[in-house]
Subunit: 418 residues, 2 copies
């Protein structure tokens, strides 16, 4: 199989390049990224015309209008991508910092130093901007990127990766710091996922089906994101003037994303004051409500919630609502139905807030704030490679730090162990 | 299958207990561990008599003398295990500390707080002391332990786990914080490795075959240790009075462990002064040498190294030796043949040391110190759950910190996203 040979060569070069990448100075990496951004802007016309090839093919294969929209590059979108690369260029370099250091009683000096992971495989779907984001973040963190984007964006991705390669060559670095997998054979993905020892980390981005497939096949560690089944719990001591905007924001500001609220839990003592008002405003926002019996007492037009509405990731303007008898029932509900992504409490009671943040085992726990803040940019990371629902390696919003590892440097003076 | 039902129940209880474990106070955990140590000492006779059952069975199944020795519990060894538990009790509690905190321009307060991983599956071989170590470290880090030890130690492991369970019950905690898998059906292991979502991390400890099998089957993240192919490079500017003891120590102090040196690299300019002396002393220590042509010029009795002697994990008194023309060749050799575990340079030249520590991509890089220091206790962690050859989650010697994750706690005042 010719793709196998090609991938073998790519991985060999990638491993060799990773040693070199780890040595790149922060200044050089920054320079290259700024240069990439400038080249992207200069080549806008070419990028748009290559993208037209993908769009033409997409129309014949019957891609949905939404998918075609996500695939489309306009001069405006190219400009935005280039600005994204400039932003990454300006971030603090994550490599080479001393995380901690100490001296042992025998005189050994130990340093824990941040290093790149090595070779990172990204598997994702159609949007060409993901190609640019991933390549830029890997470069900034001195990792070699193996990019396996969707076949429907192949011409666009080729043109985008070519820009990175040009800039690397211009700066006398191996162009194989950034690699695009150009075969569309799915067996090639399985092959890549078996290359433990040549690839250090796999990050899949896309629908749950794609991610489950990657996890099932991979012998390489995977950092992943399954579902965001986020809850907002309105406590009996909630300030309704905060609770209402938070609930509306968490559900309606962008219902299709993982940090949007899917289930609302309301303490029974505040349900009468809160639910009728929240219900009216949610309805006004176009939101369907599926509630239990008590909810429907306060929001008569709500549908009856079925058992599987709780724990469902609707990703649209549908909200499951439940009235609970106390904080413990809310926490238990989140334990049972949540996905440990992001869950919020609205309360003015410090004890309730304290119990909630201690007991809720989610990557982000919000106190009097919308679940929508669970995001690398909102946390100030300056970038986001994804949100991890794992507890291993990286948890929650994952910026450049998630693309690093560390090594121990131990300095002695002829020390031997006795 | 009855084991499946039993494991299903065990995992259900474990998940429930993990929420409770996360809430345990440091004082209570310490108290329980001290109590476990006291109970172990008190029950020495019972532990030894249960262990005799395993030993009797082992003799009929023809276990090797070395394996039987590792399996054997004596009153002295029980005392040592109990002391180990006391030592873990005395370590700093790893849970609940604020790793970092910051405030966003919009007023949101963000804290990154250490939390337990949840449920940890340990898969290991015969030694009963691993049962005690793992149970103690999981308890200290508020994780629920699922222990799958070797079938040949079953009676011993049952008796040891019973002590943990008694102490947990006595302190009014769920005894299912510590669980022993009592079925010896290997399908049960495969079943456990498929339980993504109920188990957070798998740590296999044992031979490479066991570990490869676990990695191939697991859908749960695995932190693992493959091989320790450790190098010592004696630079042209090495102080021979340091180089000789370091080389002897790295090879001979305990040849069967992962941080022992397997290959010695010597700069050609120092080979004539260093190798004859080192050769005599290695020979005196009972070490076989397999060298290239230049090595054999200085150590005439050395065997001719075959290609696969480089990169071989001998784990015995055999050493591969190569004379290299410069530092770059040494680094390249380590890149090609090493396992990224631990590699050392002996040099008085700060530039050589600096290049070596920057370029060698190993979890521990030693300067003028023996590779044998690559160890959780030697690094001052107070405990070691293993040494990771991964770059993900935990790298190198892994103490209690490797058994933790974190969560973000975000505190607002009615913040919504715009």
């Amino acid at each position: 199989m010719s793709w196998k040979k090609e991938l073998d060569r790519m991985l060999g070069n990638a491993r060799a390049a990773s040693f070199c990448a780890a040595q790149c100075s922060p200044a050089l990496k920054k320079k290259i990224l700024l240069d990439v951004a400038a080249r992207m802007k200069k080549k806008t016309a070419r990028l748009v015309s290559e993208n037209k090839k993908d769009l033409a093919a997409a129309k014949t294969t019957g891609l949905s209008a939404a998918m075609i929209d996500r695939l489309t590059l306009t001069p405006e979108r190219v400009k935005k991508m280039a600005e994204g690369v400039r932003a990454v260029a300006g971030l603090q370099d994550p490599i080479g910092s001393v995380q901690s250091q100490w001296k042992r009683p025998n005189g050994l000096k130990i340093q824990k130093v941040t290093v790149p992971l090595g070779v990172i495989l990204m598997i994702y779907e159609s949007r060409p901007n993901v190609t640019v984001e991933c390549a830029a973040l890997c470069l900034k963190s001195s990792n070699v990127a193996i990019l396996r984007g969707g076949r429907e964006a192949m011409a666009s991705n080729r043109a985008l990766v070519a820009i990175f390669k040009e800039s690397l060559k211009y700066h006398k670095l191996p162009s194989c710091f950034v690699n695009l997998v150009t075969t569309t054979d799915y067996k090639a993905v399985d092959f890549l996922l078996s290359q433990e020892g040549r690839i250090d980390l796999v990050i899949p981005r896309g629908g749950e089906k794609l991610i489950r497939r990657v996890v099932a096949k991979s012998r390489i560690p995977v950092v992943k994101h399954y579902q965001g089944i986020c809850h907002v719990y309105v406590d009996r001591k909630a300030d309704i003037r905060k609770a209402v905007p938070i609930v509306l924001n968490a559900k309606l500001q962008r219902p299709g994303v993982c940090n949007a609220m899917e289930t609302l839990l309301v303490h029974r003592e505040i349900a009468g004051a809160f639910l009728p008002l929240a219900g009216v405003l949610l309805k006004k926002g176009g939101c369907e409500i599926r509630g239990d019996a008590l909810t429907r007492r306060y929001i008569p037009w709500a549908k009856r919630a079925k058992a599987d509405d709780y724990g469902c990731e609707f990703l649209e303007k549908i909200l499951a609502v439940k009235v609970v008898k106390d904080l413990d029932e809310a926490i238990e509900h989140i334990e049972t139905y949540g996905s440990r992504h992001t869950d919020a409490i609205v309360t003015e009671d410090p004890q309730a807030a304290s119990a909630f943040k201690a007991k809720v085992d989610s990557s982000s726990v919000m106190i009097n704030a919308s679940t929508r803040f669970s995001d690398g940019f909102e946390y100030g990371f300056g970038a986001e490679i994804g949100i991890s629902t794992d507890k291993i390696h990286a948890r929650g919003p994952m910026g450049l730090e998630g693309l690093t590892s560390y090594k121990y440097i131990v300095e002695g003076n002829g020390h031997i162990r006795t």
